[in-house]
Every structure is written in structure tokens, then in C-alpha cells.
């Protein structure tokens, strides 16, 4: 039987799309550099349907691409070779909540923000948060082990996954860890699926953990003299109070936000870098400590000026200076790199990377921002107006080996939290050894013997 017919049988025709608009739309993620060419888009509503699809795909030898909110930045959800895109848009329900376990059973298409709101309605908190949480899905978050802006305190998505239901590439349904906090019974396959970028199978249900709502989150934005000073500021604050975020952005980044989109500067004094620091003020003494930390940093000459939010609205407004960067600079077709090193090595690393870019491409404008409290830097190279997109990307990919060579030497990562997907495939070797990559391929073979699930991604 022809494949489309079989899809119609499994899903009913209204949940199988083949029109050109849908193919273009669902065939790509946020990267926008690849030309989508899927065979069809399907919208399962149950684990059973996904299992039936995987069985059919194994028999027919057709590839499947798991697709979430398509906000991924590495091409993980891109379909360019007549694959069937499996969208979880219709599996977007919260199925169960247990207030004693503080666990929520979610379908994979639940939007990150939907879980955040659900938690808040129940007086609890889901702490994984980032610029795209209004569109990204839990299935995508888990498959990329998404990080974001609160990692300093709460860790990555991995910390919040209590259980997973998956359909492997071989078509088995596995119910992993059953929401348990403790379970010392051999290999924990749950952790293989977290961060697997959809290459081992489909996540069809996830049990997520919630925590207490932080009280009175307060934000400082500080003007900082240079990167070594920024690290001193980090150390000073970290030793004084528990931080829930420590982010940074450069003056070039801020002035672009101000000039292009009319964001208000937090204060008039210009500084080469800005730190955004967030912490909980559940007691007056916390504010006192934070102010003392500020004073100490000012006395040392690390900080030139700063503001503090006086209301939750002001805290939100300050956050926009950091969270809206990604969207604002997208007008410049930036070439993005998401890098990490040990926190203590950040100043040396940033210096060396900047040198590598400047040496050959002094006309390129480089913007730095990121989750510096995690040693995670977003390097964005902006396209000069006069240059064609293809020419620009070609030039950038020539800089890459230089950047990644530095990264390798310093034991850093070529992709801190965005994944490998297609975009970083050729550079995996800078962060993972030959043996490791071979083992990854062997693991994939076990879960997906015919190689039908998201082929060509990661390695």
C-alpha cells in the first residue's frame, strides 16, 4: 500500500498534511537556513498511533522526524529528505497532577509556558525558562535538555524529568522510571532520551517535577568594566546570596536594542558589559546582603553603575533587555555559536575567540551575551549589510574551525545547550572523542536498528 494511504489509515486524513505551505512550515525549525522537503506532516494523538507509525516506517524504510515547537537552533527538527514529520501539536494536554509528589504528567506537545502557568495556578513553580518558552514544547525541551536563564539555581531540563514514556525506533513502548525520585535498578534509559535530539525514539509522555515558587524575585542590572571584572562580580555575588540567574550582554548588544527597538537603557552610564543578576528577596536581610555585594564591587572598581527593580514589573522589564536580544538581532541574520567552558576560564576563552574572529574578519561585528554564570557564551556574528547571506555564512564557517580549536584546547563545548542537529555535526569532533562518537552510533543502533528516526542528526 502506498505510504500516504497508510498514514491516512493510521491518523485519519485530516491529521495528515501534504500541502506545500504545511510542508515548508513544519519541515524546519528556527534555523531557517535549510530548505525543507518532507513527504508529509502527521499529528498523532496517542502513544498507540506513534507506535503504529514507527512499525509502518520500519516496514517501508521511510524516515521519521520528531517535531516540537520548532524553536530549535541546530536544525534538529528539520526534514530535507522526504521524511515524515511527526508533530506533537495535538498531544498538548496536561494529563495528571499529584500535589504530594509534585509531579505533572504531560503530553509531549505541552508548551513550556503552559506547564509554567499550570504550576503557578497550583502554587508551584516550573523553573526552566528562556526566550522561546511561549512556543517550545516539553518534548523538544527534553530532547535538547534545554537550559535557559535559571540554570545557575535550578539546573537544566534533565533535573525536572521524573519519568518518560517513549516509543523507540524499533517500535517498543518503554515506561521509564515511573516518576520515582529514587530508583537504583541499573541503567537509567530516561537519561539517554534526554538530550538525544529525537534520534532514539519519540517521547510520548513526560512526568515533570515542580518546586516552590521563589518569592519576590529581584533584579539588578550592573555596568561592568571588563570580563575579568564580570567574573569577580559573579564570585562576589555568588558568595553572598543564592542567585537564580547571572546573565550578561555587551554594550554593542544593548545599543543595538536601544537604537533598533527603542528599549530604554537601564541607566545613562555606558559600560562595556552589563550583568543581569536575579535573586529571591524573601527577607529584608537578603536585599541588605545584595546591596553590600554591590558596594564591594563598586569599591573595587569592577562596577560603574547599577539599578535594582522595585516591583515585579520592573524586574520583568529589565529581563527583557536580555531575553529579547535573540529576537531583535535576528534582523541581522546572525551567525550563532553557543559555546561553553569552565566558568573560571571564561575571560581567557572570550579573549582568544575574539582574537580568532578579529584576525581574519575585522569587518564583522561580534555581539556577546549569554548565561555567563554557567560558563555559557552566545557568540553572534552579524552580517555586514553589503554582504550576501550565502557569502556571509561561507565566511563564518571558515572562522568556525579557529573558534572550535580554541574551544577544544580549553576543554569547552561547541554546543552548550542548543544541540548538534545538522548545523554543528561537522564540529562534534572538537568536543567528543572518536570513541565517544562511535559509542553513540552503537547506542543508536540498539534503539533504532533500521536508522529510521531522525537520521543524519548529531553524527
Amino acid at each position: 500500500m502506498n505510504i500516504l494511504q497508510q498514514l491516512n489509515d493510521i491518523f485519519t486524513p485530516e491529521r495528515v498534511l501534504t500541502d506545500e505551505d504545511s510542508l515548508q512550515n513544519y519541515g524546519k525549525d528556527w534555523t531557517q537556513v535549510y530548505t525543507p522537503d518532507p513527504l508529509a506532516i502527521v499529528f498523532p494523538t496517542s502513544t498507540e498511533e506513534v507506535q503504529a507509525l514507527v512499525k509502518m516506517a520500519n516496514e517501508e524504510g521511510v524516515a521519521l522526524v520528531p517535531s516540537g515547537g520548532r524553536t530549535g537552533l541546530c536544525g534538529g527538527a528539520v526534514a530535507m529528505n522526504k521524511e515524515i514529520v511527526v508533530s506533537f501539536d495535538r498531544m498538548n494536554k496536561i494529563l495528571d497532577f499529584n500535589s504530594i509528589d509534585r509531579s505533572v504528567v504531560c503530553q509531549p506537545g505541552v508548551i513550556t509556558q503552559q506547564l509554567q502557568n499550570f504550576a503557578e495556578e497550583n502554587n508551584l513553580f516550573y523553573p526552566v525558562d528562556f526566550g522561546s518558552s511561549g512556543s517550545s514544547q516539553l518534548g523538544g525541551n527534553i530532547s535538547t535538555n534545554a537550559g535557559g536563564i535559571k540554570v545557575v539555581r535550578y539546573g537544566l531540563t534533565r533535573n525536572w524529568v521524573l519519568g518518560l514514556k517513549v516509543v523507540t525506533g524499533a517500535g517498543e513502548v518503554l515506561d521509564l522510571n515511573h516518576g520515582l525520585v529514587k530508583n537504583a535498578t541499573g541503567y537509567d534509559f530516561r537519561h539517554l532520551f534526554i538530550g538525544a535530539e529525537g534520534t532514539l525514539g519519540f517521547i510520548t509522555e513526560a512526568t515533570m517535577r515542580l518546586t516552590n515558587i521563589p518569592k519576590n524575585l529581584t533584579v539588578f542590572v550592573l555596568g561592568v568594566t571588563d570580563i575579568p571584572a564580570l567574573m569577580q562580580v559573579f564570585e562576589t555575588f555568588q558568595n553572598t546570596i543564592e542567585l537564580s540567574a547571572f546573565e550578561f550582554f555587551s554594550e554593542d548588544t544593548l545599543s543595538l536594542m536601544v537604537n533598533d527597538k527603542g528599549y530604554a537603557r537601564p541607566f545613562d552610564t555606558e559600560a562595556p558589559y552589563y550583568a543581569l543578576i536575579e535573586f529571591e528577596v524573601d527577607h529584608e536581610s537578603k536585599e541588605e546582603s545584595a546591596l553590600q555585594a554591590f558596594e564591594a564591587c563598586a569599591e573595587e572598581g569592577w562596577v560603574v553603575d547599577g539599578v535594582m527593580s522595585q516591583s515585579l514589573q520592573q524586574a520583568k522589564d529589565l529581563w527583557r533587555l536580555r531575553e529579547d536580544i535573540s529576537e531583535t538581532i535576528s534582523a541581522y541574520t546572525p551567525y550563532k555559536n553557543d559555546l561553553s567552558v569552565n566558568i573560571s576560564k571564561v575571560p581567557e576563552y572570550l579573549d582568544k575567540v575574539e582574537q580568532a574572529v578579529n584576525q581574519n574578519y575585522s569587518e564583522f561585528k561580534v555581539l556577546w551575551y549569554g548565561h555567563i554564570g554557567d560558563g555559557n557564551l552566545h557568540l553572534n556574528i552579524l552580517k555586514p549589510d553589503s554582504m550576501e547571506v550565502s557569502e556571509f555564512f561561507e565566511q563564518c564557517s571558515k572562522v568556525n574551525p579557529d573558534i572550535f580549536e580554541v574551544t577544544k584546547k580549553m576543554n569547552g563545548s561547541v554546543s552548550a545547550e542548543h544541540g548538534i542537529g545538522i548545523i554543528k555535526k561537522n564540529y562534534l569532533k572538537y568536543s567528543r572523542s572518536k570513541e565517544e562518537v562511535e559509542l553513540m552510533a552503537s547506542v543508536k543502533k540498539i534503539f533504532d536498528p533500521k536508522g529510521i528516526i531522525n537520521p543524519g542528526k548529531i553524527f
Binding site: E121, G306, V307, M308, Q310, S311, Q313
Partner: protein
């Protein structure tokens, strides 16, 4: 010219409001409190008047419990010169607050009193008007623009019909709209300095005004939750539901 700015400590605009289970009011235990947003506009306007050389001294005043000192500290950090806390355990009604403020006006002799057009906790929108009546001063409410000229001020007001510009003589009462200005964030060095600025504490009872409540709150309840929507298959079903279930056709 001296400017008096009234500020109020309210449940933060971004907090999800919870009604107490006994229906006696809104739960404010362990809830983030901030300055009423309209009052931030009031204070910002006064600060701009000072920057422009129109105002010489800015005094922030609040009626509330001792915890309202937080709000006054924010006002001082933003740039108010000094602050007055009128200590009242039971929150007075707008009339009571207007009476207390009229006494402060007698003592301080400001040329302008700026208040928010309403406080976001009870949304009364009364205090400024009542204060104007008690003092027998001109009032310009819902101001979105203020231009001072000698001993009068040109005020642009936001009304249901559009914008209205009036000229009123000083001394006067102004109540603010959110579009009046973009309030500044206090700088950290100023927050430190604000800790040393004076706050005068006065007992509400010492003013000798009648604060007896005139309203009785019978019960407080949360708005009815929105019913979830339904997806209909076609227009015919929609019309049927609108006619027979919703009864709107």
C-alpha cells in the same frame, strides 16, 4: 515650589490575586507588595519638575502600616527629598485618607499635590477629588501631560471622549494617568543613599480627624472563572449553539 506626592503600598501588579477563603478580603500574607503604579508616575512627574527647575522640594507621603516604609524608601531612592509615614493600622477609606492628607497639606504648604488617579488594590479613584474638595483647590484628574507656567499649569486629561486640555491655577491637585511619563528605576547608589534620608513617622490618631469607616464590606469573591471554549464542527452547529445554548441569537 514644594510638591507633595502621595504613594501607596499595594499588592504588586504582577501577583496573582487570591481571595481569602472566608470571603473577608484579599490574601496579602507573604505576597509581594510594591508602590502603586500610578503613584510611580506621580513621583516621576515631580522629579522631572525638579530637574526642570520648577520644583524645589519633593515630599513623599503615605498612609499605612510601618511596612509602608519600604514604599517610602523606594520613593526616596527614586529622588524624593524626604518622606512622611502616617501610621494607621486599619487602612482608612479614601475619605479618611483625604482628610489626613489635607492636614499634611496645612502643615507642609505645598503648591502642588500629585496622587495616582486610583490605587490598583481598591480602584476607588476618589482620594484626589476628595482632597481637592476638602482644601477647596482646583483639580486636574487623569493627567497625561503637565506643563507649568508661572502660577498655573496646563494639563492634558484623558477622558472617555478623548484628550482635554485645561488650565488650572496653583495650588492644585493633580491625579495621574499611566501615560503621563515612564517612571525611572532607582540607581543602586541612590538606594544606598535613600537609607539615610529622613522618614517622619506620625500617628494617624494625632491628626484628630474622624476616620470611622462608612462602608461595610459584605463579602469579597473572585470573578467567575471563564468557561472553557468548545470547538464546533461547522457553522450550522455554531448557530444552533448560539440560539439554543447561549441564547444570544
Amino acid at each position: 515650589m514644594k510638591v507633595l506626592v502621595a504613594v501607596k503600598r499595594v499588592v504588586d501588579y504582577n501577583v496573582r490575586i487570591r481571595v481569602k477563603s472566608d470571603g473577608s478580603g484579599v490574601d496579602t500574607d507573604n505576597v509581594v507588595m510594591s508602590m502603586n503604579p500610578f503613584d510611580e508616575n506621580g513621583l516621576e512627574e515631580a522629579l522631572r519638575m525638579k530637574q526642570a527647575g520648577v520644583a524645589t522640594e519633593i515630599v513623599a507621603v503615605t498612609v499605612g502600616t510601618e511596612q509602608s516604609q519600604d514604599t517610602l524608601r523606594s520613593a526616596l531612592a527614586m529622588g524624593a527629598d524626604r518622606a512622611i509615614l502616617i501610621n494607621a493600622e486599619e487602612a482608612p477609606e479614601p475619605l479618611g485618607i483625604a482628610k489626613l492628607l489635607s492636614k499634611v497639606v496645612e502643615q507642609e504648604q505645598p503648591q502642588v499635590v500629585i496622587l495616582g488617579k486610583q490605587a490598583i488594590d481598591d480602584d476607588s479613584n476618589q482620594t484626589g477629588q476628595m482632597l481637592a474638595a476638602l482644601l477647596n483647590w482646583p483639580q486636574g484628574t487623569f493627567a497625561s501631560k503637565a506643563e507649568f507656567e508661572g502660577d498655573s499649569v496646563n494639563l492634558t486629561r484623558e477622558t472617555d471622549a478623548g484628550l482635554e486640555t485645561i488650565k488650572i491655577n496653583l495650588p492644585a491637585i493633580i491625579t495621574t494617568d499611566l501615560r503621563l511619563n515612564e517612571p525611572r528605576l532607582p540607581k543602586l547608589p541612590d538606594i544606598m543613599k535613600a537609607k539615610k534620608k529622613p522618614i517622619d513617622m506620625v500617628e494617624a490618631a494625632s491628626f484628630g480627624v474622624d476616620l470611622t469607616p462608612r462602608l461595610e464590606v459584605v463579602s469579597v469573591s473572585a470573578p467567575e472563572a471563564r468557561k472553557p471554549g468548545v470547538i464546533v464542527a461547522n457553522a450550522a452547529e455554531l448557530i444552533d449553539k448560539l440560539k439554543n445554548e447561549a441564547g444570544v441569537l
